[in-house]
Symmetry: C2
Subunit: 322 residues, 2 copies
């Protein structure tokens, strides 16, 4: 059987590409990171549990990708440039085929973003993946949740709801063709963190969050921390390509409350609309304007005719969910 | 039931004491850390799994302490000054009494070391605690595993073996009085990370590691990475106060191969013995000299008369252990 040390050496140890930024990588009591001079370090940690964040038996390559993607998405939501990450995980057993696919999926995404694996921990236990990611952002430029201003536009990157639609397909809540399910499911299994867009928005947008638990709830965090409210044009929300073919009620529900899309929701002053659109073009990501920040607290939902909608979208919560 | 957000707000959110060092703490997509100018960031991540690293039903206050202590011990082994940590954990259910004790045990140790909780994640799942810790160390001064030099003294902080003795007591491998078990078990449940000693040794000692899996194996990591060997005087190893009352064979076995003590094993030039002893006095920690680094590879064990001992101490490995 592979020992813990063999496993780390074989699947998770590579010489750092940039020894200036990472003077010491995997294999000591700590890794050493040399922060870029004058920059702040953005830090996020996400834990993924089998049966809760992913299905038992999930494809290991996709799981490796997704585990890092959700963390990179947090850096994107701060406007930070990825530097490095640590990986701690518990596995029921050290299966070489699983580990090879898992590490390949994870390290391919890491390489695409220049994000070095610098350390971590492995142990035996129920499958659990915990990544902590580090990024660089200039002081004062981070996209904080508490920085939305009345009058700001509300923007959404990419499209929403296809990850939730795939979950509904798996659960039999919605009938989908095999092709439709496969397309929608790719959003759930292989989310694309909006890293380039986030960096392009630093210093341009005011507030940002990544949409992981559902837009209504996640935007709600911006509103609460910024002590503002919002008018949200529900029918202007960009539905995923599969969801877009479904009826209005489902589109509204899943764009508003579907989680796992890992798009960015951000606010920016109307005077900077052109710059926002240019930043999105430079980053290769579509962005859609879908509302306005208001001084009055609360989230008000509007239909395409500007009439109030009385929907009750529920965000996902790990301890109150069934 | 407590929601994830209530739980974080109630038990794990406090304003950062030092807003200069932590411009943004718990509650956004990322925390922001302002690195001390010119310093490198030492980073370590440890995952603790119920039934493997601690007993089911473990005292939550001690568990909170230990979860952070094992991470601070990694900073100590690099000579780094604690700055901050993130906490990600999975819980079967959000029980307020358990969470209150767990956070109190953890945050008391954090406060004692000026180490701010800056972010993390909570989710439902089999009990699993993953902490990532950040410390500051000046470039070139970190105590690396690859820095031992032939001729260096080998030093051990504190005492070894009582944590392993407690495990033997719980397992019925050794008969202990209630008092003896309680005393030995305090080393297992509430380890003391040697943070002050580690910092005092930075720039003075050559190599260091913390003893988590057993001295023979952990020293072996220094030897392998430094491409050196060692003569280790087994009977000079400082046995824990409870273990010290047991027979020679048990003392040898548990000081050599017992894990979970979280003492430091470090090497330093003989010319700096007085400085090492002064650093230990300043840090309030006893240190004991118990061997020498050799140019020839391999770990050779000696008895009190300098004769070779043929013992086969086994370090703990999570994937090859039963």
């Amino acid at each position: 059987m592979l020992s813990e040390f063999d496993l780390i050496a074989r699947y998770f140890t590579r010489p750092p590409r940039d020894a200036g930024a990472v003077p010491l990588g995997v294999g000591d009591d700590c890794a050493l990171l040399a922060p870029p001079p004058g920059m702040q370090i953005a830090i996020s940690s996400d834990m993924l549990v089998e049966g809760r964040h992913f299905f038992p038996g999930a494809d290991p390559s996709q799981l490796g990708h997704k585990s890092l993607a959700v963390n990179l998405s947090d850096l994107a939501a701060m406007g930070a440039r990825p530097l490095a990450f640590t990986l701690a995980f518990a596995l029921p057993s050290a299966r070489p085929d699983w580990l090879e696919a898992f590490s390949a999926g994870m390290l391919a995404l890491a390489d695409a973003h220049g994000c070095a694996l610098i350390g971590g921990d492995t142990t035996k236990g129920p499958l659990n993946i915990c990544i902590t990611v580090f990024g660089a952002v200039a002081p004062g430029l981070a996209l904080r949740r508490d920085a939305a201003q009345p009058g700001d536009d509300i923007w959404i990157s990419g499209t929403l709801g296809d990850a939730r639609l795939a979950l509904a397909g798996y659960r039999g809540e919605v009938t989908l063709s095999d092709d439709a399910l496969a397309n929608a499911a790719s959003r759930m299994h292989s989310p694309t963190p909006r890293v380039a867009l986030g960096q392009a928005l630093a210093g341009l947008a005011h507030a940002a969050i990544d949409v992981s638990d559902g837009l209504a709830g996640d935007l709600g965090h911006i509103l609460a921390r910024s002590r503002v409210g919002a008018l949200l044009e529900v029918d202007a929300l960009p539905a995923g390509p599969v969801l877009a073919g479904h009826d209005l009620a489902l589109r509204r529900n899943f764009t508003l409350a579907g989680g796992d899309d890992y798009e960015l929701c951000f606010t920016a002053p109307p005077a900077r609309r052109e710059e926002v659109l240019q930043a999105a073009r430079d980053a290769g990501t579509v962005v859609t304007r879908a509302g306005t920040i208001t001084p009055e607290p609360g989230l008000r939902l509007l239909d395409a005719n500007g009439r109030s909608l009385d929907l009750q979208p529920a965000s996902f919560d790990h301890f109150t969910a069934p």
